[in-house]
């Protein structure tokens, strides 16, 4: 596992514990509670982080081993 993945996940987990806005009762567009919108942002940030992880820190050796396995199966 690459350290960059751990750094991203660690950062997301810290941002997830949003104690500083516990009592924030602001409504976004008068309809969406602030805490809900913030945590939806965390969900989207997680998806972007995983996109980066699969793009730049993917364990390529697993692809090679599964290719080799497929070839073995075909032969």
């Amino acid at each position: 596992m690459k350290p960059a993945v751990l750094i991203f996940v660690g950062l997301l987990l810290i941002l997830h514990q949003d104690y500083w806005q516990w009592e924030n009762d602001q409504l976004i567009f008068g309809a969406f509670p602030y805490a809900l919108v913030y945590h939806m942002g965390i969900s989207l940030a997680a998806a972007v982080s995983w996109l980066l992880a699969t793009r730049f820190w993917w364990p390529e050796h697993l692809d090679r081993s599964s290719d080799a396995e497929r070839e073995r199966g075909a032969s």
């Binding site: 996940v9 997830h16 516990w22 509670p33 805490a35 809900l36 989207l44 997680a46 995983w50 497929r70």
Partner: protein
């Protein structure tokens, strides 16, 4: 009555899908249990997501938001978005690779081989089966409650089922749901399960959004959607619109609950169906977004339901803890038309059944692979006999689980938490098995025994201290050396920490594992 017919129609459709999948069955045990490793990225995304979203996600989240407010989304949905994908990436991928290389079908096969310990397999089998059964109960209880609430009053003219509000009684609804899922798993195996999961995931995601829009419009009562959202939110209890109902330390400890996915036997089985490592990319990226699409509407609906104008507080007045399971179906019944109500109930059932099927199948797989073939000999049974035995075991376990569900009227959310806590206690084991060369069989056994001991003690204690809701451990802040104080947290933190400590300490105190075995699992 229309709703009842729509539910029946949906169940018939699922049966048809299971039978269609059975036409592709290749007759081998690998095909029945792992769909011959042919599942690509889209089907893997849909089936993994459908499997992890249960009654806990739909019925449970709405009920929990009704009780504790908007914080429920952060507590589980955004946390799961981070942690589930982390588990797929960090645990799922390596296990898929090792499973393909050595031909594993179950987690126990991996652990037995990795730690050269038959005892560990013997210990894990009943524990995993019991935890899966407790997880199954979440779906069966939730499904019965939904159908009962939605169909209430359908039999008023005939006078049937008066004690169940003239709706289909929960016990009957649960039995029919079990029967339908059992049939398509029975005939379709893993392929039928993956197809049904993908179909049901699409159904519950689309219908969930339709429910959200329909109920928002009904609660608002104007022609403008945004205005309706504003009216619905502003009518809710103000304390439910902030995180104040959520104790901070309990919120933190909820981060441990989604870790459980790393030890779900049915998720392991789905991982192994992947055609290639590349198939994992889409599920890893999209899982947090899919969770958001399902949970955001459910949590907001639960919060809206707290407003007197929703009619839900009056409808649920005087009920016990089971009322939290009825929040979503009551909203649907009060605010969606009959046809839409029927469709939406089918959507809720879709989410519930898309987990039940994988859990049923994994029970059969574990029994045949970890008990029958392991102790009886791999060559002794033909593939046809193995598939037949898997089917019989599943039928037996489902019947037993169904009977248990009749004695268990608790909240789906609480029930789910205890099941997930047990699985999370086993996560240090799987993580160490993948990444730590120094892990020994004794360390693994000690970790499993510690998990069981802690889980049982705290579970029993939660009944004694029924005044603490949700049950926390420590039950009161616990001072350490007069400097810091350990706050009240979910029991899962204690279970996880104790299991990890036992694993590390006992592994370090016992002789190093055999180099030849390590060579099978770690590159030099």
């Amino acid at each position: 009555m229309i709703q009842l017919w729509m539910i029946i129609g949906y169940l018939a459709l699922l049966l048809g899908l299971g039978f269609a999948a059975s036409r592709f069955f290749r007759g081998t045990a690998t095909d029945y249990m792992l769909a011959s490793h042919t599942i690509g990225p889209v089907l893997l995304l849909m089936s993994l997501f459908g499997t992890t979203m249960t009654a806990f996600a739909l019925v449970g989240s709405t009920g929990a938001a009704y009780r504790a407010g908007i914080g429920v989304y952060g507590e589980l949905a955004s946390a799961s978005g981070i942690v589930h994908s982390l588990c797929f990436f960090v645990i799922g991928l390596p296990l898929w690779a090792v499973g393909r290389r050595h031909g594993y079908t179950t987690q126990i096969q991996f652990f037995r081989d990795r730690l050269q310990s038959d005892l560990l397999g013997l210990l894990l089998f009943p524990i995993l089966v019991l935890l899966v059964v407790s997880y199954l109960l979440v779906g069966i209880v939730g499904g019965g409650a939904v159908v009962n609430s939605i169909t209430a009053g359908a039999f008023e003219s005939s006078g049937w089922f008066a004690t169940a509000g003239h709706g289909v009684p929960s016990w009957l609804a649960s039995a029919v749901i079990c029967g339908v899922v059992l049939l398509y798993v029975f005939f379709g195996g893993m392929r039928g399960t993956a197809w049904a999961n993908a179909f049901q995931t699409a159904v519950f995601m689309v219908l969930g959004l339709v429910t959200f829009v329909t109920i928002a419009n009904a609660l608002g009562g104007t022609d403008r959607f945004l205005e309706n959202l504003q009216i619905a939110t502003q009518a809710a209890e103000s304390s439910h619109l902030t995180m104040t109902k959520m104790p901070r330390a309990v919120f933190f400890s909820f981060l441990f609950i989604p870790l459980s996915v790393a030890m779900f036997p049915h998720v392991f089985q789905h991982w192994l169906t992947a055609r290639s490592a590349q198939s994992f990319k889409l599920p890893i990226i999209m899982h947090p977004v899919f969770i958001m699409i399902v949970w955001m509407p459910c949590v907001l609906l639960g919060v809206w339901a707290t407003g007197e104008s929703s009619g839900v507080p009056a409808a649920l007045d005087g009920m016990g803890p089971e009322k939290f399971n009825k929040v979503l179906p009551t909203l649907v019944k009060l605010h969606a038309g009959e046809v839409l109500g029927g469709l939406l109930s089918a959507g809720i059932l879709a989410a519930i059944m898309s987990s039940l099927d994988s859990q049923f199948l994994c029970l059969g797989t574990m029994f045949t692979e970890d008990v029958v073939r392991h102790y009886g000999g791999r060559e002794r049974y033909s593939d046809a006999q193995v598939v037949r035995l898997a089917r019989y075991f599943v039928v037996g376990m489902v019947a037993l689980t169904y009977l248990l569900s009749l004695m268990l009227p608790g909240s789906v959310f609480t029930l789910g938490l205890w099941s997930f806590s047990g699985f999370t206690g086993l996560v240090p084991l799987v993580f160490a098995a993948v990444y730590w060369r120094r892990l020994t069989a004794a360390g693994a056994v000690a970790s499993v025994i510690t998990t069981v001991g802690c889980w049982t003690a705290l579970f029993i204690r939660s009944f004694i201290r029924s005044d603490i809701k949700p049950y926390t451990f420590p039950e009161q802040p616990f001072p350490v050396a007069g400097i810091v104080s350990i706050p009240k947290m979910l029991p899962v933190v204690t279970i996880f920490a104790a299991a990890a400590a036992a694993l590390v300490v006992v592994s370090l105190l016992t002789p190093r594992p055999d180099q030849k075995t390590l060579g099978k699992f770690f590159s030099s």
